[in-house]
Amino acid sequence: MVVQSTAEAITYPAVGAELDIEGVSHAFDIDGATLPVLDNVNLAIAPGEFVALLGPSGCGKSTLLRLVAGLENPRSGSLREDEVRITGPHPSRVVVFQDPTLFPWRTVWDNVALGLEAQGILKTQRHRVDAVLELVGLSSFRNAYPHQLSGGMAQRVALARALVNDPKILVLDEPLGKLDSLTRIAMQSELVALWQRKGFTTLLVTHDVEEALVLANRVIVLSDRPARIKADIAVGRPYPRHRGDPYLAELRKQILGLLGLEATW
């Protein structure tokens, strides 16, 4: 079939960065007690790969993302972006959170311009803001304030705010988790299209198995807290993927089994 032939043609553009997570363990101190969150996580992600992290609620997925973003440093182990150790946040690794967290006092345009402004390059790079707003289809809302936007639009602005920095690694922390199912399906396709076009490495946290299977090259299944890698599943299907694909349905059954939910199948 036509779809099959494009599968062979997928090559990752050089824009994405390689991400190495080596022996990472992390813990939180809560009321004097130490709560282990991540237990010796090892993960190598190739440039341009789309990796989904699946795991039970509260298992430490989001903590792993915060470590990748550089918002926190791990207790042990190391994370490297293109062989350079991650020690703090950097605009080459941008996070889109579950809540859009747009700045309510800034217009859509100013929200998207945030990264360029923070890096002090906005004056010469204004066209990038316009271009990325065009890309997510919100050019006509450039002067709107966040409270005037719907949930899906706000999340698209958050995505634009990340993409304007031309990230090498896009970190998505359940970005579609709070959207209604129709908006969600539409934005999943948009996300795949953007990723294919831009070629950044993508790390997506989700607890929606179907979403992971429709979007990612690889699905990593994590265990209960403290999170360890339980399974590393390659999804060898071309894009755009069909939700009713029996191959994906079989994978879904397998993954639900790993998450201890086989009875629901």
Partner: protein, 338 residues
């Protein structure tokens, strides 16, 4: 689709039609009544003789009749006057009430002395103050504005900077917080006797006190505003490459601004109180001083005149502050109202 648009238009049209209809039946009536009330005020000035000796009675009466004529023509031609006509229509009930009130006031004081006389001066004696004692009154107004503005700006600036500092830095908070806790709640007027001794001039002492009265609420609210900024905003800004200075200036401060304005509003109120007390006790200028001076001469009309000016100034300052807030916090429309 068509159902939607039909119901939409009828919903929008109905209240508009209702307003127009009530305007046709009501607004002319109220406007004409307001005109009559002012005519009555003018006539009451001119018709009965004064019980006392006031020089501005006839000018006041003529002025009131001129106002009545303006209201009359304004009401009749409101449809052709654009926004001014609309504004007149909206305020017609107030014009009516105010006209009735001054008529009653005129009759009760200058004409039949139902109210004891030196303590309740008639409208024309207050007009007399504004015409005959204008230079002194203006001097007082300028002195008050100068003192208030200086103290308020200093207090608001220092309070804002202090609030941001202790909201941002725990180390600064450690030192400033107890001091604030101890000194802040003390009413600024309690410092008056000491301040007038220790400061080189009564003017600098009053400036200090006004700044103190303004500074405390501004500090506390700026601080709580900065401290309550969601950490998610900082996370977002940091992953986008923001440096600490950006986090303070472009994240913490704009997010705290609604709180800051509550502080500025509270500071304005308490600084007015300090201003008047300081002028009554130590400073030899300003509206507070004018009030005190008028009382000394039993010049009751001057006291009322000064009170009216003072209230106009205070409400003007608060209006100005609200306008500034609305301008800076447009983004809040539909989010919060207070």
């Amino acid at each position: 689709m068509s159902t939607y648009s039909v119901s939409d238009t009828t919903a929008a049209a109905a209240p508009r039609a209702a307003v127009t209809f009530s305007n046709l039946s009501g607004s002319y009536g109220v406007g004409l009544a307001a005109s009559l009330a002012w005519l009555a005020f003018g006539a009451s000035c001119l018709y009965w003789p004064d019980v006392g000796d006031w020089s501005r009675t006839s000018s006041l009466g003529i002025g009131a009749i001129v106002i009545a004529v303006f209201i009359l023509f304004g009401t009749l031609s409101a449809d052709y006057l654009g926004s001014a006509g609309q504004a007149l229509r909206k305020r017609a009930p107030w014009l009516l009430a105010f006209g009735a009130l001054v008529t009653l006031w005129e009759v009760a004081t200058a004409k039949f002395a139902w109210l004891p006389l030196p303590f309740f001066p008639p409208p024309q004696s207050i007009l007399e103050v504004y015409t005959d004692d204008l230079p002194r009154l203006l001097d007082s107004v300028f002195a008050s504005i100068k003192l208030q503005l200086g103290g308020y700006i200093i207090g608001a600036t220092v309070g804002f900077v202090t609030g941001v500092s202790i909201g941002w830095s725990q180390k600064i908070g450690y030192w400033v917080h107890p001091v604030l806790r101890f000194i802040g709640p003390l009413p600024a007027t309690a410092w008056l006797p000491i301040a007038f001794f220790t400061f080189p001039s009564s003017w600098s002492a009053s400036t200090f006190l006004i700044a103190l009265a303004t500074g405390f609420p501004v500090t506390v609210l700026t601080w709580s505003g900065v401290a309550s900024v969601s950490s998610a905003y900082y996370d977002v800004a940091r992953t986008l490459g923001a440096k600490p200075s950006f986090l303070v200036l472009k994240v913490a401060i704009p997010a705290a601004l609604p709180h800051v304005f509550v502080g500025l509003f509270m500071g304005l109120g308490s600084s007015f109180a300090v201003l008047v007390v300081a002028e009554m006790i130590g400073v030899k200028a300003g509206l507070g001083w004018y009030l005190q001076w008028a009382q000394g001469w039993a010049a009751y009309a001057n006291m009322y005149a000064a009170l009216i000016v003072m209230s106009l100034l205070c409400s003007g300052a608060i209006t100005l502050l609200f306008r500034t807030r609305d301008h800076l916090l447009v983004w809040q429309k539909g989010v919060v109202k207070w």
